[in-house]
């Protein structure tokens, strides 16, 4: 597989950044120039090139604020997903440099330098493309959604987190277990999902074990005024993150964190045991289930599990592909049919009144369930209220039984108040 993503200034066509994924050559300057050129060519005649699809590849162009063109080339994934990714990449740029810097571009060299900080974030974002490649370490990344973990201790951690939030005088904070949200404050969920997602990536990339204090612009909430994003490591794999203004200092935040959480280290430790199953061991699911993806479409958060069976620890290596299948199923069969208002790839592309393309669903028709049967496995997705559960079954599971099992499993997962779903 291969994926490229690059940013070019609209006016001068100067490359600002370029990232790639997979074992492929770097794009030559001339190729990059041509890719930018075709996009620029149509502009005078009122034509904007959006995307091009070939057998296995998709290329997408997107211009932001009439100043930055982001071009993505990827194999194996749909153009819809690629388009969503471009928006996220742009948001990552704004997160680091702020919208004014992107618009004015006074000093390109400085912009390039500043953007280095978000390269790890962009690289991680590329992992959320579903290339169907099992070498991907982060198959559980879903574009435009935030990953969570359903620890049985979540309700206890929530209480501690609330007191910590008071201490540091911030409304936005959360606890990350292995880079996944265990609990967060209500206000944290009020952030745009792209902001949440990018902050999470910022917290886990590079070194997880040291405290971070990074100035960030929130692309939707405050694109011009910077906040401070602080992430402190509590124990290994567990971090506490918060957004705050110029005060308090990092030292004070670290102290507050140490004070608040010193009595709950045992809870945090046992919570971190929940990974990689990602949901409590006490919940027993049907033996035909190979993988789970639980999505809340309101908050755009999800939980993904590749080892739902308790005794399946040794099959770990082969099970990474399961997440790929589930993710592809979600992208192809769920994201555009079962989730209302997530229209299609045009969501961010087209002016408001022409939001959808023709294949999007009518407002009146609502998808409720969807399934795939393949030679080797079956996927089933079911929606109840705001929750969607996608289940990967072994091919031995009868098609008609999937509905029942999925519904029971969904019920089991979300009825437990302790996990704070």
């Amino acid at each position: 597989m291969s994926a490229y993503i690059m940013g070019v200034t609209s006016n001068g066509g100067i490359p600002v950044f370029s990232r790639k994924k997979g074992n492929c050559d770097n794009l030559s300057f001339s190729t990059l120039g041509s890719l930018n050129g075709v996009h620029m060519f149509g502009k005078p005649s009122n034509i904007e090139l959006l995307d091009t699809v070939s057998d296995d590849h998709a290329v997408a162009w997107k211009e932001f604020c009439e100043s930055l063109v982001i071009i993505g080339v990827a194999s194996g994934c749909s153009v819809d997903v690629l388009n969503r990714l471009l928006q996220l990449v742009y948001d990552a740029v704004v997160l680091i440099v702020g919208i004014n810097e992107v618009k004015t571009q006074r000093n390109i060299e400085r912009l390039k330098r500043e953007l280095r900080i978000c390269f790890p974030v962009i690289d991680r974002l590329l992992d959320s493309l579903d290339c169907g490649d099992s070498s991907n370490k982060h198959s559980s990344d879903i574009v435009g959604y935030a990953e969570t973990v359903l620890c049985p201790e979540n309700h206890l951690i929530q209480i501690v987190l609330d007191s910590f939030t008071e201490c540091v005088d911030s409304m936005f904070s959360c606890i990350l277990v292995n880079g996944k949200i265990a609990v967060a404050t209500e206000n944290w969920w009020s952030l745009h999902i792209h902001e949440i997602r990018l902050l999470l990536l910022l917290a886990v990339t590079e070194n997880k074990d040291i405290s971070k204090d990074i100035p960030v612009f929130l692309p939707y909430k405050s694109p011009t005024v910077a906040f401070r994003f602080v992430a402190c490591s509590l124990i290994s794999d567990v971090q506490v993150c918060c957004l705050c203004g110029s005060t308090p200092a990092l030292v004070n935040i670290e102290q507050a964190a140490a004070q608040c959480f010193k009595n709950s280290t045992d809870i945090l430790k046992s919570a971190s045991q929940c990974v990689p199953r990602n949901f409590p061991n006490t919940m027993v699911v049907d033996s035909g289930i190979l993988g789970l993806l639980l999505v809340n479409i309101k908050r755009k958060k999800y939980m993904m599990s590749k080892n739902p069976q308790q005794n399946s620890g040794r099959k770990m290596s082969s099970s990474s592909h399961r997440l790929d299948i589930l993710r592809t199923f979600f992208y192809q069969a769920i994201m555009n049919t079962l989730i209302p208002n997530s229209k299609t790839w045009q969501e961010n592309n087209v002016s408001e009144d022409l939001k959808t393309d023709k294949l999007a669903l009518d407002e009146s028709t609502e998808g409720m369930e969807s399934y795939w049967c393949s030679e080797y496995h079956k996927c089933h997705g079911i929606k109840v209220c705001d929750n969607i559960l996608c289940v990967l079954y072994s091919s031995a599971t009868p098609t008609y039984a999937m509905r029942l099992i999925s519904k029971q499993t969904l019920n089991l997962l979300i009825s437990d108040k302790q996990v704070c779903w």
């Binding site: 090139l49 194996g76 022409l354 028709t365």
Partner: protein
């Protein structure tokens, strides 16, 4: 004279040596026709295009607008103008050639009753009538209905079988139509729109008509005096009755060369068009553009920004080793998609806006268009580089895009201008399409007996065994070999003897040319279409060099009548006479095809097909109903689904009455388009009574005498075989066959495909892309709003499912090496079933709230060859798609 002129223009056909004309004519099969200068010319003869030999001739039933009943009556009442058809043949064959017609065709020519009628037949056409042409007709009074004067029939209708109304002055009596069982209908001198002047020389008007008729109630015959009324007078008062010879649609079909720059320019404001580029030439002076539409160049969006697509086409191949398939652009805020098709050094770009067709639909439409052009011109390079094509292509593309702008419904220029002049309507989301765009032919599965009859007739046509026509052995070569033929009814395939790929192309051609639409909406009196074509099976064989010096040419002949049309692919060259340049249709073959069609219709097969259509193609389809238990958001409610939710509450719940319910729904749907079953049946049984029996006795007699002549044992064996295949045994009896076919009513009780006590099937599509066959319930515009919403969503969903299945098929066809290299998403390589449950509000009855939940499920079968089945059914009893697919195949006989 017309024929003389033709004779000279067809000099190559004609033997140069005129003195041998008689002898030559005897030997030659088809060309003899031209030597007969004063025999009747076929009606279509003058319409042949001199330069290309192409022909499109449509003779419509004249109809009276603003008088709907009569349109229906008139257009349905004549199954085929047999007399007219045979007349020209008879003239020349009887006079010139001592030939006998083949068994099943001869009877018409030998009918004594017709001899009589032919003598006093003037050739009257609506086009050329002038005021005052007066005719005197003797009409038999219907003895059965003489005293059976019911209140709902006028006296004229029950006695004479004529429906009368008044001319524009409100006083004179006009013939407005014929009753079903009318003998007057077969009287060629009585035409709709005629002024009934007098009966037995007594002048009639509206007031005294009934009184006068009363006087003749006991007579066996009356003498009617009719006068043709000038067209101007008839149309003077359009609200009452307007006589049209052809509809606007037909007029535009026949009009091949009109192109208005204004129309083309109107299209330019939309992001649509097509352009054919030579990628080797550079951009200077626009030399790289070989063809583009819409004109003018400066406003054509594709030509303005072609550089983008040429570069991309190049760039993506360098970058990814794959060719680009589609691009999406935003033009003035409107989304549009472009499809790339590369032919060696040429590149075809095809663009449509998204609000008219989704990207998946556009890809399919592009393929359809290319197939159509290749079928017409052999290959696209030839199509777009011959200068003489341009005007025709412009007109072709104008009508093509006009149709698409009109939501893929055929539109006349007027409708198009209305639509395009109204910017709000153009942005309306149009319907989705799925099976309509697939390279398949919608098929009606008739029962075995009917199929056998059709096969028999087609086989005889294809065999072209004309030995029996002439006692002297024919030693000249044939003009054509018939490669295959296929019979359609209302645009549905009944039987085909063509190679699958050719059949799909022929159907696509008929669809793009509007013939399918024509046969669905306006039954015609007669249709003849002829042109050179390049069927896929023949394209594949010949390399590039053989295109310049073709080994043979193929021609497509389509003859139609009523709702039926018969398509035949003929080959000149090879074992037959070498083809000439721009060969026109040969009257003999056209008549053969027409006679075959007439024979099939006479057997009542179009009634059988019509009945099958009314029975929804033989499959039962349910009407959507809201699910009784309201959707509950709590879990207990949601978990209830495993219990058999009380299945669809059709208005009557018991199973026995349900079937009736469904049929009545079907009838209601069809009531505007079709005759009801009973009517159709009555109509044809009447005909069988009045004509067939007399024919039959004649026919069998003549046939026996001919058999005595035949010394050739083999041939009589064949005849015996033909005879024994009929139900009546040794003698060939059309009416009995027809009776047998028509009485077989039991076959068309629609089959229930879904499991469970009630039918829950809304729609299904069975796609066999290898064989090019599409099976499904008959498409009909419904009165149910909910059903339309469901169907539209079904098609959208099918597009998606079909897209997913393409991955599976692609992977199956990959070699191990390719798999290793491939960048496909490995999670998509083996999907064989894909289903989605939808909910939509119930829209039909305001007071009945609730939601309809239904499944759309697609299943891919790849053994023995890929087939796809898509079903849409109500969510109640779990259905097994494999089982459904099995049942569909079981009920289908094709």
């Amino acid at each position: 004279m017309e024929s003389q002129r033709l004779l000279s223009s067809k000099g190559t056909v004609q033997t140069p040596d005129e003195s041998f004309e008689e002898d030559w004519a005897e030997e030659s099969t088809g060309s003899s026709y031209y030597s007969d200068s004063d025999s009747t010319i076929p009606d279509w003869e003058p319409y042949i295009d001199d330069s290309s030999g192409e022909l499109l001739y449509i003779d419509c039933h004249p109809f009276v607008t603003h008088n709907k009943d009569h349109i229906k009556l008139d257009s349905k009442s004549e199954p085929f103008s047999k007399t007219q058809l045979r007349k020209s043949t008879r003239g020349k064959f009887l006079r010139l050639i001592r030939r006998k017609e083949s068994s099943r065709r001869s009877k018409k020519a030998l009918r004594p009753t017709e001899e009589g009628s032919e003598i006093n037949t003037q050739k009257v056409k609506f086009q050329d009538f002038q005021e005052g042409e007066q005719k005197i007709v003797t009409l038999e009074i219907d003895s059965e209905n003489r005293y059976n004067l019911s209140s709902d029939k006028s006296l004229a209708e029950s006695l004479l079988g004529l429906i009368v109304s008044t001319l524009s002055d409100g006083n004179r009596v006009m013939i407005a139509g014929f009753s079903y069982d009318s003998k007057a209908k077969h009287e060629r001198n009585i035409k709709i729109g005629d002024w009934l002047k007098s009966i037995n020389n007594m002048d009639v008007n509206v007031q005294n008509l009934d009184d006068i008729l009363q006087k003749f109630i006991n007579h066996s015959e009356v003498l009617l005096t009719l006068q043709r009324v000038a067209a101007t007078e008839v149309t003077k008062d359009p609200p009452i009755n307007e006589l049209s010879v052809e509809s606007d649609f037909v007029r535009e079909l026949l009009n091949t060369n009109e192109d208005d720059e204004n129309l083309s320019e109107k299209l330019c404001s939309h992001p649509l068009g097509v352009i054919f580029l030579d990628t080797d030439k550079c951009n200077e002076a626009n030399e790289d553009i070989l063809y583009f539409y819409p004109k003018p160049l400066k406003k054509n969006i594709l030509s303005i920004c072609r550089g983008v697509f040429i570069t991309l086409n190049h760039l993506l191949q360098d970058l990814t080793d794959t060719k680009p398939r589609t691009s999406s652009i935003l033009h003035k805020g409107r989304l549009a998609h472009i499809v790339y098709t590369q032919f060696e050094k040429h590149l075809l770009l095809y663009m449509l806006p998204d609000d008219l067709a989704s990207i998946k639909e556009i890809v399919l439409m592009n393929r359809e268009l290319i197939n159509f052009l290749e079928f017409l011109y052999g290959d696209l390079e030839r199509c777009f580089t011959k200068n003489c094509n341009f005007k025709r292509l412009d007109w072709l593309f104008f009508r093509y895009f006009a149709r698409i702008v009109n939501g893929n419904k055929w539109a006349t220029t007027k409708q198009f201008l209305e639509r395009i002049g109204n910017p709000e309507r153009i942005f309306d989301r149009t319907d989705s399409f799925f099976e309509e765009l697939m390279p398949v032919v919608p098929t009606l599965s008739l029962h075995d007996d009917a199929l056998m009859q059709i096969d028999d007739a087609l086989a005889e046509l294809e065999a072209s065994d004309y030995r029996e026509w002439n006692e002297d052995p024919l030693d000249c070569q044939r003009l054509f070999t018939i490669l295959g033929s296929a019979l359609f009814h209302s645009g549905y395939l009944l039987a085909s003897h063509m190679i699958h790929e050719d059949l799909v192309e022929v159907y696509n051609f008929c669809k793009q040319q509007g013939l399918v639409h024509l046969s669905r909406t306006e039954p015609v009196k007669s249709l003849v279409m002829w042109r050179e074509v390049f069927p896929r099976s023949c394209r594949r064989n010949c390399g590039n060099d053989s295109l310049n010096a073709p080994d043979g040419s193929r021609y497509l002949l389509v003859v139609g009548s009523g709702k039926d049309f018969l398509a035949t692919i003929m080959e000149a060259g090879g074992c037959t006479e070498p083809p000439e340049e721009n060969m026109g249709p040969d009257a003999f073959y056209v008549e053969e095809a027409q006679a075959t069609l007439a024979h099939v219709q006479e057997l009542g097969l179009s009634v059988v097909a019509q009945r099958c259509l009314l029975a929804n193609g033989g499959y039962e389809v349910a009407a959507p109903t809201p699910s009784p238990n309201k959707r509950k958001n709590d879990f207990i409610g949601a978990l209830n689904f495993s219990k058999p939710t009380s299945p669809m509450v059709l208005r009557d719940s018991p199973g026995s009455t349900k079937k009736n319910e469904v049929t009545s729904i079907l009838k209601r749907r069809n009531v505007e388009q079709h005759l009801s079953q009973e009517e159709a049946y009555d109509l044809y049984s009447e005909e069988s009574g009045s004509q067939a029996y007399s024919e039959t006795s004649d026919d069998s007699g003549s046939r026996r005498t001919r058999q005595k002549y035949d010394s050739n044992d083999e041939e009589s064996d064949l005849d015996e075989f033909g005879g024994s295949s009929q139900i009546s045994g040794s003698s060939f009896d059309v009416s009995e066959v027809r009776q047998a076919l028509l009485s077989d009513l039991g076959e068309y009780t629609p089959a229930q495909i879904t499991t469970g006590p009630h039918n829950v099937l809304y729609h299904f599509v069975h796609l066999d892309l290898t064989e090019g066959v599409l099976i499904g319930p008959v498409e009909c515009s419904t009165l149910s709003q909910t059903y339309d919403v469901i169907l539209n969503n079904f098609k959208k969903c099918c597009q998606n499912i079909h897209g997913i299945f393409q991955n599976t098929l692609r992977f199956k066809n990959m070699s191990a090496q390719e798999i290793a290299k491939s960048l496909m998403n490995k999670s998509l390589i083996a999907i064989k079933e894909y289903g989605t449950l939808f909910e939509c509000p119930f829209l039909d009855e305001k007071d009945k709230k609730g939601r309809v939940s239904y499944w759309v499920v697609g299943r891919l079968f790849y053994m023995p060859h890929p087939k796809e089945v898509y079903v849409c059914y109500q969510d109640s009893v779990p259905q097994n798609v494999v089982e459904l697919a099995f049942k569909i195949s079981l009920y289908n006989k094709v």
